[in-house]
Symmetry: C2
Subunit: 306 residues, 2 copies
C-alpha cells in the first residue's frame, strides 16, 4: 500500500465493483465507487488519501489503477466478505441512473480508524452511509480539517436523514445533484433548496445538474455554469464523484477556498467529469493528463463568455 | 392602427387569448400569443411590425398594450369569428406546458398579405402553422429580408412536418426548445440534433432549455448559457417568444448577425425571458425598461464568468 508523509486531502467513500449498462453497451465487472472516482480525479492536482473498505474478491488490477497515481491507500482496508457492489442502468435519459441492485457487503461492518501522520486539511465525505461520514467527521472533521465537504444520494436521504442532517451541520460545503437537493429540502426551486441547505450548516452549496451544468451558492455569491457540451455521453457513472474530486483537489492544491477560486475549481470539476463520461469506468481518466484538462478548460471558458 | 414608415423587423405569429394555470394561480383571459410576446420584447430594441389576425372578441385593452410601444399594427387583421385561444397548465415541472385546449378559430382562414412601405430586413416566423410561415416567406423572405429565423412547436412538428422542413430550408436561423429539437430530429443528443437541423438549412440553431439555459450553434461556433437564476417562476408562458423577440430585436437594432453579436443577443433574450416569467401574461414586461434589462444583463455576465 502506498503511503505519504502528508496528504492535504482525504476522502471517505466506496471502492466498488459495478455492473453498468448504457445505451452504448454493458460492462459486467467495472471498477467503480465514489472514493475511486473522487481520488483519481483529485490526483491530477494533489496527493489524496482514500478511506475505504474492499472485500476478498477485490481485483488486484483495480487496486493497481489507484497505486499508479499519488493516492495514499494506507486506509484502504481489506476485509473478509465481498466488495460493495452496484448494478445500474441508464436508458434514454443519461441524467438519471436506475439502480437495479446495491449490495453493501463489507460496508456493513466498516469502522474506519484514521491514522494519518498529519491530519488532512481538506476532507471529503463522498457518497456513503451517513453514519460512516459521521464517524470520519469525529476523527478528522473540523477543527482538525480546515475545509470539509460532503456528498450524498437518494438512498441515504430516505434511510438516514437525521444522521445526514447532523453531518450537514458540521461541514463547510455540500456537493449534491439537483434531484437530491429537491428531495432533501422538499423545495422545487433550486435556489430555495440551496438556501434551505445553507441554513442547515454548509456555507457553500454546489448543485450538479448533469448535462445542464452546475449552480454554486456561496453565502450570497452565485455562479452558474452550463454543462460542457458532449456529442455523446457513453457512461455517466462517476461523473459527480470525479467532479467533486477535481474540485476538492484543486482547492487543496491552491489552499484557497475563496468564491473566486471555487469558481475555477468547479469549472475544473465539470471538465474532468466531462472526460469521465466519455468511456466506461475510469477508462478515460486513465488516459487523461493535466494538459488535456487545461486545454478543455480554456475551450469551456470561451464557450461560456459573452 | 399604428403605422411606421419602416420597420427593420417584422414577425408573423399568433395574437391570442390564453387561459393559464400555474401552481401560483390562474388567469382566465390572459393576453397571449407568440407575436404578442415577441413584438413586446423586441420593442425594447427596435420598431417591429406584427403580422397576425384576431377575432371580433379581441379586447381593445389588449390591443392598447401593444399600441403603447413602437409596434406597427398595420398588419393586425381583425376578422369575423373568435380570436385564437390556448388553454394550458403548468404543474410541478415549470419547464413543460400541458396544453388542455387549442382553438385555432380565425387562424384557420388567415391569409396574410404584406404591404410594408419597405421590406423589413429582419423577419421572424414565430410559432404558428408552417403553411402561414411559408406564405409570409414567399412575400417577405430572402432575398428581400437579410436575416430570417423561425420557431415552431410539437403541434406543427406532428401535423405539418413536410411544410416545416420546407420552411427550415429557407431560413438563416431557428429558435427551438430542447424537446422540440429532439422530436424534430429524432436525436437524443442536442449537439447531434443541432447538426441535423443545420444540415436542413439554417446556419444558426438556437436551442432553448428553459431554466437550464440556451445552446447556440453557428456554423462551427458554439455558445452555452446557463439559465438566469430565478427563485420562483410564476408563469412560463411566453418565455420562448419573448426570448426570440429580444434576440431578434437586438440583431435588427445592431444590424449585425456575427457570432459575437449573436451571443449578446441571446443573453439579452434570456434576460428578457427571465422577466416575462415573473408574472402572468405581459404584466412584467409592461413594467420593464431598458435600464432594468441592462442591469440584469450585467448581473448575468458576472454570474457566468470564471
Amino acid at each position: 500500500m502506498r503511503k505519504f508523509d502528508s496528504c492535504p486531502l482525504a476522502v471517505i467513500g466506496t471502492v466498488a465493483i459495478d455492473e453498468v449498462e448504457t445505451p452504448f453497451g454493458k460492462r459486467e465487472r467495472a471498477f467503480g465507487g465514489s472514493a475511486s472516482y473522487f481520488s483519481y480525479a483529485a490526483s491530477f492536482f494533489t496527493p489524496v488519501g482514500v478511506v475505504a473498505i474492499v472485500g476478498e474478491d477485490f481485483p488486484p488490477e483495480f487496486q493497481k489503477i489507484l497505486e499508479q497515481r499519488p493516492i495514499d491507500l494506507s486506509h484502504l482496508e481489506r476485509s473478509q466478505g465481498k466488495t460493495f457492489f452496484w448494478r445500474g442502468r441508464y436508458r434514454y435519459d443519461m441524467n438519471t441512473a436506475e439502480t437495479l441492485e446495491t449490495h453493501l457487503n463489507v460496508l456493513v461492518d466498516f469502522n474506519p480508524q484514521l491514522h494519518f501522520p498529519s491530519h488532512p486539511e481538506f476532507l471529503f465525505l463522498a457518497n456513503i452511509d451517513s453514519l460512516l461520514q459521521e464517524r470520519v467527521l469525529e476523527q478528522a472533521g473540523k477543527p482538525r480539517a480546515r475545509f470539509v465537504a460532503c456528498d450524498t444520494m437518494n438512498f441515504w436521504i430516505e434511510k438516514k436523514k437525521p444522521q445526514l442532517l447532523q453531518v450537514l451541520a458540521r461541514v463547510d460545503g455540500v456537493v449534491i445533484n439537483e434531484n437530491e437537493a429537491r428531495q432533501l429540502t422538499e423545495e422545487a426551486s433550486l435556489i430555495l433548496a440551496a438556501q434551505k441547505i445553507h441554513s442547515w450548516g454548509p456555507a457553500k452549496v454546489i448543485i450538479k445538474k448533469g448535462e445542464h451544468g452546475v449552480l454554486v451558492f456561496d453565502e450570497g455569491h452565485f455562479f452558474a455554469l452550463p454543462g460542457y457540451p458532449l456529442e455523446t455521453v457513453f457512461d455517466p457513472t462517476g461523473a459527480g464523484d470525479s467532479f467533486a474530486g477535481a474540485m476538492m483537489g484543486f482547492l487543496a492544491k491552491t489552499q484557497d477556498v475563496s468564491f473566486e477560486n471555487l469558481k475555477k475549481a468547479v469549472a475544473l470539476g465539470a471538465v474532468v467529469a466531462s472526460f469521465t463520461v466519455e468511456a466506461f469506468s475510469l477508462d478515460r481518466l486513465r488516459r487523461l493528463d493535466l494538459h488535456q484538462i487545461e486545454e478543455r478548460l480554456e475551450i469551456f471558458r470561451k464557450i461560456c463568455s459573452f
